[in-house]
């Protein structure tokens, strides 16, 4: 290398590390002040809206489920419409173990739910992730439908169409009971589980592994050409995502004390996809924003307009599809760049 190379070498290690681009990458994973806000809001909500804790618990479960999808779809670009397969696998793991008197301790129950969902994710991923795009989309729906039918037919174990009601879940740490009338325990428990899973996902997406997932999402062929074991990475990601979806499903079964086929159906898989697209995928907090907006719309629109509340949702989705492809967070970011503070050349990935 000639003259320019020498000049580049003369600028030191420190100079390169202090380049704004390098600093942005080095500091990317550091906690920003606004990242505390959702958690403050969640704790404040506990005290301000004691009558809404059932709704709040449902919201936390939805966020966790959407977060698991964000890992697979938002970061690795795995197009799936069958994520309820893992939610259901987790829910039925908790439900069947409790109903048949095998295991009813909640925290280890969630770990088992994660394990079973991870196994389902790994096995289906080994087959499905050979495909891409629409083929993959169809196959994810198919595998979910297979699970749903299996749950329907194995009536003796799963309760079939009726599901398993009144699950006997033991108190957390043997002390805090799940009271169906007051959801305080459920809410705080769900919040703790969400926080733990969020820390995991956040760590993962800012790691070199997470960076390579975004590489796969942005250009699959190039990832092959830089020597990345693309399929292995996708399968690992899919399995982890399935495990978290399984935790969400297990949590859902525990806090509601029931499990039924709705945990495995297309409606649930489509809803979580809408939640994520609404909030903005590939940006961690899209799951939070999307779940809040979706559930709030569902809750309040259904009161005002019980027969046609989905009309409002539909109009919002049309708006998102036309004007805000990156969801509410993406729209906010674009507006911030245009009218707000400093120019930020590169978006978070």
């Amino acid at each position: 290398m000639s003259a320019s190379a020498t000049s580049a070498e003369s600028t030191s290690f420190a100079a390169r590390i202090n380049h704004p681009a390098a600093r942005a990458l080095i500091e990317r994973h550091r906690l920003r002040w606004w990242e505390v806000l959702p958690w403050i809001a969640a704790i404040a909500g506990y005290f301000i809206f004691p009558g809404y804790l059932g709704f709040g618990t449902e919201l936390l479960v939805a966020i966790l489920f959407a977060l698991s999808l964000d890992l697979a779809l938002g970061y690795a670009g795995i197009i799936t419409l069958g994520h309820a397969a893992f939610f259901g696998a987790g829910a039925y793991t908790v439900g069947m173990l409790a109903d048949h008197g095998v295991w009813s301790e909640p925290i280890t129950g969630l770990m088992l739910a994660a394990l079973v969902a991870a196994i389902v994710g790994l096995l289906s991923g080994l087959v499905l992730l050979r495909t891409r795009g629409l083929t993959l989309l169809m196959l994810t729906i198919c595998s979910m439908a297979l699970l749903e039918q299996a749950a329907n037919m194995a009536h003796d174990y799963t309760g079939g169409f009726d599901g398993l009601p009144n699950l006997p879940i033991t108190p957390i740490f043997g002390v805090f009971n799940f009271n169906p009338l007051y959801n305080n325990t459920q809410y705080l428990y769900a919040l703790a589980v969400l926080l733990a899973c969020f820390v995991f996902v956040r760590t993962l997406v800012y790691s070199p592994f997470g960076q390579s997932l975004t590489g796969i999402r942005e250009n699959l062929l190039r990832m092959h050409a830089v020597g990345a074991p693309v399929r292995r990475r996708l399968i690992i990601c899919y399995t982890l995502s399935a495990a978290i979806a399984g935790i969400a499903g297990g949590l859902w079964a525990q806090v509601n004390a029931y499990v039924n086929l709705s945990s495995l159906d297309l409606d649930r898989a489509a809803t979580v996809l809408i939640v994520l697209i609404l909030g903005g995928y590939g940006r961690l907090y899209g799951a939070f924003v999307g779940a809040v907006v979706y559930l709030a719309l569902e809750h309040f629109l259904a009161r005002i307009y019980p027969t046609a509340w989905q009309l409002g949702l539909g109009i919002l989705l049309v708006f998102i599809a036309l004007f805000a492809r990156n969801g509410i967070l993406g729209l906010g970011e674009a507006l911030w760049r245009r009218y707000g503070g400093r120019h930020k050349p590169s978006a978070p990935s």
């Binding site: 994973h29 975004t214 942005e218």
Partner: protein, 270 residues
């Protein structure tokens, strides 16, 4: 980078050694014979150009070398070792890198991230799940170094899709160099770049570390005659002629078959 320079010094002694070789390399697509019976040698530190009319099988040949395609017959050897059955990702680890005729970049990511990915992959950092990517300042520093060498330092923070096409081609090159290849295959590196910008690509190619064996596919004869020390002409999937740029230029058959109208233009620069 120091390691790269040391490598460069050691390489002087083995400069004439064959890095990459093919024997009777053939690939059919159904009845179509894309590449047939190619015996080819790429020396360590070579600056070798592969030219030929459209449809001559140049890109197929590159795809066979990188393992994107499997040959119907014949073999590929790297450093004397048969790698015909070796998968693409493994060949990259063995030191074969390429660029693409049409940019294949991580479009939504920053320029720095585009180079971070291959460097992390090469260093074996990429499977790491529980440490932040930003903690690996060695990867970031090397990526920044590469960007500085290619004069992309000022846009390191920009999203790569915001760059002019010519500078995107440089990122394409940076990704390949970030893999520290022993063999670098450049598929029309200046394709699609406005002529006013093409010099930045050529400058960058000329400044590649000397020990890398470079095979460049190029249509632009100016580039070929400026860059290459050896030229192979492919026609209809087979090697038609091989020699120094002067020999190729002087070869009447090559002129007739390939250079044709371009021959006169290339002659101006000889």
């Amino acid at each position: 980078m120091a390691a790269l320079r040391r490598q460069a010094q050691a390489v002087g002694a083995i400069m004439s050694e064959t890095r990459l070789e093919t024997r009777g390399l053939t690939r059919h697509f159904g009845a179509l014979v894309a590449v047939t019976g190619i015996d080819f040698k790429l020396a360590a530190g070579a600056r070798h150009a592969l030219i030929g009319p459209n449809g001559a099988g140049k890109t197929t040949f590159i795809n066979l070398l990188t393992g994107v395609l499997q040959p119907s017959h014949g073999s590929v050897l790297l450093g004397g070792k048969d790698i015909t059955a070796t998968a693409q990702a493994e060949r990259v680890k063995l030191g074969i890198a390429r660029t693409f005729q049409i940019n294949r970049l991580f479009r939504g990511l920053s320029v720095l991230e585009n180079v971070y990915i291959p460097v992390a992959e090469r260093m074996g950092v990429a499977p790491s799940m529980f440490n932040p990517a930003g903690k690996r300042t060695d990867v970031i520093e090397e990526a920044m170094y590469l960007l500085e060498v290619l004069r992309l330092g000022d846009v390191a923070q920009h999203r790569v899709s915001e760059l002019a096409y010519g500078r995107q081609r440089l990122v394409e090159l940076a990704i390949a160099i970030g893999l520290r290849p022993g063999v670098l295959l450049l598929d029309e590196p200046a394709a699609g770049v406005p002529s006013a910008e093409s010099h930045i690509i050529l400058d960058a190619i000329e400044r590649l570390p000397e020990d890398i064996a470079v095979l460049i596919i190029e249509h632009d004869m100016d580039v070929v005659f400026r860059f290459a020390k050896r030229v192979t002409v492919m026609v209809s999937g087979a090697i038609f002629a091989e020699g120094t740029p002067k020999e190729i230029e002087a070869n009447p058959e090559v002129r007739a078959v390939y250079l044709g109208q371009a021959g006169a233009r290339a002659g101006d620069h000889a």
